[in-house]
């Protein structure tokens, strides 16, 4: 079933891009021969402070008509906020009509070192809520756009709050939106046993603040005798995760986007995930 046939059942979709992949995605969209890209309404562009879009690329992006969301890279929302990175991001996005910025909570740089997969999750406690909320407000002020914060990929817990509760507290304290990464949340819940990974927690007060849901795969492995679910975007999105997402959707505001954050996956795998989500939404 096409989007046109079932518009009222289907949410808007976004697709994740980097500066390296954006031009290819724009061209495929404009060529019109990619069924999935034809059904996408927004692009979620991962951007580091030093990166710049060329005028040609900005023109192509504008031509697609896609809404633009910028996923910042290497900003410590839970620790020492580097104002130079923030200023760089503002400059990098000056000519883009950015609907909102977003970043995973936690620590992504230590000193000058970009930690990558060695990043740290935020401490899940009230001190951290206060520090993080202050940083979010600073970012929004500097960027002059809303900032939504994402639950990070993490497999162990620091602090005693539940991640769900922590995210809601941060969003309330900072008065900001949330990005719910489904793989991150399922993996964290399973690894830490802090809470059952149950999206039907209708009482969760963060639902109304969720602007975007991220969809990507993860690997199930064992380390030191314990199960670990590692965030790995190119992996297939398996059926239990699709079910989790579909059960979550009724809790979200109608305007919340679904972002296919499947960088590294084949176009066929992205199309398959998109089709299963559409099918599930229409069936529901």
């Amino acid at each position: 079933m096409t989007r046109r046939a079932c518009t009222r059942f289907v949410r808007d979709f976004a697709i994740a891009a980097t500066l390296d992949t954006l031009e290819g995605l724009c061209r495929r969209r404009l060529k019109g021969d990619d069924a999935v890209l034809g059904e996408i309404q927004a692009v979620n562009l991962g951007l580091a402070a030093h990166e710049r879009l060329t005028p040609k690329l900005r023109g192509l992006l504008r031509e697609t008509g896609w809404r633009v969301i910028v996923h910042m890279i290497d900003l410590n929302l839970s620790g020492h906020l580097d104002m130079a990175i923030l200023a760089g991001l503002k400059k990098a996005t000056r000519d883009l009509d950015v609907e909102w910025f977003e970043e995973d909570l936690g620590i992504w740089t230590w000193g000058r070192l970009a930690l990558g997969v060695h990043h740290l999750p935020p401490f899940l406690d009230q001190d951290s809520v206060r520090d993080t909320a202050a940083n979010i407000r600073t970012c929004s002020d500097v960027l002059e756009r809303p900032l939504c914060v994402e639950n990070p990929p993490t497999y162990f817990a620091l602090g005693d709050m539940e991640m769900w509760e922590y995210m809601a507290c941060v969003a309330e304290e900072a008065d900001c939106g949330l990005v719910l990464d489904t793989g991150h949340m399922i993996g964290f819940d399973i690894c830490t046993g802090q809470a059952s990974s149950q999206p039907q927690r209708k009482a969760w007060r963060g639902w109304s603040r969720v602007r975007e849901l991220h969809v990507s795969g993860f690997q199930s492995v064992q380390l030191a005798g314990l199960p670990v679910w590692i965030d790995h975007h190119p992996e297939p999105v398996r059926e239990p995760q699709i079910d989790w997402i579909l059960q979550t959707l009724p809790c979200l505001a109608p305007s919340a986007l679904i972002c296919l954050e499947m960088d590294g996956a084949s176009p066929a795998a992205i199309a398959d995930t998109h089709a299963r989500l559409i099918h599930g939404m229409v069936s529901a």
């Binding site: 620790g79 020492h80 000058r112 070192l113 970009a114 997969v117 817990a157 620091l158 380390l223």
Partner: protein
């Protein structure tokens, strides 16, 4: 929680994170979490050490295999533990691992591993360890071959034969006992290194029985 400060410049808001990061990089430190969470913390440290090991195995494949077969996790753990000291100089994890391994290599087990590391480091980077002064003849010979970023190193053993033996074992899914059976030829060598187009090359300067080799 333990509380240590990594650097004097560490902002207060980062100090408790720094203590956790140090314990994730340094396997000799106790997990700075309550007892009921220590198993999960150790699993997380394992994940991170595996990631560091993957980079090391790409940079120094034979040294990594040989050390791990003979001495377990000492090479990767020793290297990872150096990383917190590099946060103000390295900007990427690859840079940090490169410098950390160079700092730690003097503690590799025995001359065989250290010489192997020097060989592989010289084949991947112009930042050679303990280079020798090249003679005018050697410089001319390397330049005549079109090599740039050249360096000359003396080795106390036949590192080329050693590398060939270990490469053979790695290609044949050898067990640790096979690696333990490798006895390097104690013949000293003098090798020249340089870059030709995009590849690092080595040239045997003394003895002269080997021909020019490309980096594996």
């Amino acid at each position: 929680m333990t509380s240590t400060t990594t650097t004097p410049a560490c902002p207060p808001v980062m100090q408790r994170y720094a203590a956790v990061l140090e314990a994730l990089f340094d396997a000799s430190l106790p997990p700075p979490v309550p007892p009921e969470r220590q198993a999960r913390f150790i699993a997380e440290r394992e994940r991170r050490l595996l990631n560091i090991g993957r980079t090391m195995a790409r940079c120094w494949p034979l040294t990594f295999l040989y050390e791990q077969a003979l001495h377990g996790r000492a090479f990767v753990e020793g290297t990872a533990a150096q990383i917190p000291g590099l946060i103000e100089t390295a900007t990427t994890m690859t840079q940090a691992i490169d410098e950390a391994a160079r700092r730690w290599q003097s503690r590799l087990h025995g001359r065989t591993s250290r010489e192997l590391f020097r060989l592989e480091q010289s084949l991947r980077s112009p930042c050679a360890l303990d280079p020798a002064a090249a003679t005018r003849t050697e410089k001319a010979r390397l330049a005549a071959m079109g090599l740039i970023e050249t360096q000359v190193l003396d080795f106390g053993i036949d590192v080329i034969a050693l590398a060939q033996a270990l490469d053979f074992l790695s290609r044949n899914a050898a067990a640790p006992s096979h690696y333990a059976g490798v006895v390097p030829d104690p013949r000293p060598m003098r090798l020249g290194f340089g870059r030709l187009a995009e590849r690092r090359m080595l040239v045997v300067l003394r003895p002269t029985r080997h021909r020019q080799k490309a980096a594996p």
